[in-house]
């Protein structure tokens, strides 16, 4: 039996995907603004953060309305509560993209500290995690979601590696400290975005299987 409620759930899913694609674009643009030293683009990212925020509010409204009026159960309930949480995770990702853009604005007015190699590499992996966690959500694919959770360690390692490298710049020449710290902030933002992608992936596993794998050591959950 096709329910009117199903159409509303499909619309909610669409809203989330729209938000996901806006956030992906924000992350991608913020990195491009840094690597290409394009401050106009960085400014665009900062301005578009309010779009992400407003999508978050819209999705929350939709979820609260559906909870109140449809009193969902089982997989519908899991879908709606997961959608609310995914929306918050995406909103945080949007804020982090905004942070990266602001650091880019600061860095772009100074000489480039070093060729950007590892940061774009880290961004590539992070964006892949974001795309895959959203694909896992769209296709209700817990296998892909679990893979995303596993990939987080790699991004963490890259962040650690970058931190060590930037520390060596700072130790060698204190004049680099400001730029190096800004770059560590960028790396930290990417690392946090990957954490949010992991959170979304864990939520997808719960949504599909009803099994909570959050805050459980990987050896137990996988």
């Amino acid at each position: 039996m096709q329910r009117h409620f199903d159409q509303e759930l499909a619309q909610l899913k669409e809203q989330l995907l729209r938000m996901g694609s806006v956030v992906e674009q924000q992350i991608q643009r913020s990195m491009q603004a840094l690597v290409d030293r394009d401050s106009d683009l960085a400014q665009t990212v900062v301005e578009h953060d309010r779009d992400v925020n407003s999508l978050d509010v819209d999705i929350d409204d939709t979820c609260i309305r559906l909870l109140a009026l449809q009193q969902p159960t089982a997989r519908d309930l899991r879908f709606i509560t997961t959608a609310m949480k995914i929306s918050s995770e995406l909103e945080r990702m949007g804020d982090l993209a905004d942070n990266i853009a602001q650091r880019a604005l600061e860095l772009n007015v100074e000489p480039q500290l070093k060729p950007y190699i590892d940061i774009p590499r880290m961004a590539h992996w992070t964006m892949r995690m974001v795309q895959e966690c959203l694909n896992a959500f769209v296709n209700s694919d817990p296998r892909l979601a679990r893979k995303v959770c596993g990939d987080d360690d790699f991004v963490d390692d890259l962040n650690e590696q970058l931190f060590r490298e930037l520390l060596s710049f700072m130790l060698e020449n204190p004049k680099t400290i400001t730029r190096a710290i800004r770059l560590t902030f960028v790396a930290k933002s990417l690392e946090r975005i990957a954490d949010h992608a992991t959170n979304i992936a864990e939520l997808v596993v719960y949504m599909v299987e009803g099994k909570n794998i959050r805050h459980i050591a990987p050896s137990v959950s996988f």
């Binding site: 039996m1 009193q71 089982a74 997989r75 309930l77």
Partner: protein, 288 residues
């Protein structure tokens, strides 16, 4: 004199938590601690039920723990009310009804030889969909059962009626008009009066067959609160078509479909992560 003594004890049981002599002595705190060790009150094993040739229940097996609320849900004609009526042998009154399998109350087969149906129904009370007060006073409605069981002492009857009405959350609303006709009460009050009437004969188990289906949301909320409170002293089994009600008040929930028990488990799991697709489809409104 013996009767009087028995009645006083009976009155005490209404007022105090727990149904056994030992649990009556427990403090509230230790009573709570003992909750995980709830014992089995009703055990149904491979139950088949027939209305003449037509089979209404197929191999139903489930266990109901004492001092819990169990809800049976499912589409119309799925057998949930039939099972409920099997638990106090109300189906004995239906021509051509046949029961196979076993239903135990505290370990005793309720269909076994030598089981007195009246005593069984005293232990397993029932509240129906439509409130059915007797055309008598409020007091007489509640005192009727105990009187049938031979209780005459006025003081003890007064205590029992008060305790039962308090237990049903109705005392404060009717204490000044106990001699008035029960038919003058509102629908929700009449239903709570029926619950008080069931409590007055000191049951162990209370069966409720869609107790709120004819009530407005406020009266329904009162009954639900009452059901929640009743499980301190009694084991409650209810049939409901209102899924949110089952989700709100029950500890365990069974989903029936075409005479089969499809899934039985703790209510949280049934409503968040049901294991059977048919349960999921039913509770999410995809069929039924």
């Amino acid at each position: 004199m013996e009767h009087t003594l028995g009645l006083l004890q009976l009155g005490q049981r209404v007022l105090l938590p727990g149904t056994s002599a030992t649990s009556r002595d427990l403090t509230a705190e230790t009573h709570m601690l003992s909750q995980p060790e709830l014992h089995t009150k009703v055990r149904v094993r491979n139950l088949d039920f027939f209305y003449g040739e037509r089979q209404a229940l197929f191999h139903v097996t489930l266990t109901i723990r004492a001092n819990t609320v169990t809800a049976f849900i499912g589409p119309s004609g799925c057998g949930k009310s039939t099972l409920l009526r099997c638990l106090n042998r109300l189906n004995d009154l239906v021509d051509g009804a046949t029961v196979k399998g076993r239903i135990e109350l505290d370990g005793t087969d309720i269909n076994g030889a030598g089981v007195d149906v009246n005593s069984l129904r005293k232990r397993v009370g029932m509240v129906f969909q439509k409130s059915n007060p007797f055309p008598k006073s409020i007091f007489e409605n509640v005192a009727y059962g105990p009187r049938l069981h031979g209780f005459r002492n006025k003081r003890t009857l007064d205590e029992l009626v008060q305790a039962s009405l308090e237990g049903a959350g109705l005392w404060d609303e009717v204490k000044d008009r106990l001699t008035h006709s029960a038919l003058g009460l509102s629908g929700g009050q009449q239903q709570r009066l029926c619950i008080a009437r069931a409590l007055a004969v000191q049951p162990d188990v209370i069966l409720m067959d869609e107790p709120c289906s004819a009530l407005d949301p406020i009266a329904t909320a009162k009954i639900e609160e009452l059901v929640f409170a009743l499980k301190d002293k009694y084991t409650v089994v209810m049939v409901t078509h209102n899924m949110q009600q089952a989700a709100r008040v029950s500890d365990q929930c069974g989903f029936f479909l075409m005479g089969e028990l499809i899934e039985f488990g703790d209510t949280k799991s049934i409503f968040t992560t049901p294991q059977d697709k048919r349960t999921e489809d039913y509770i999410t409104g995809r069929f039924g």
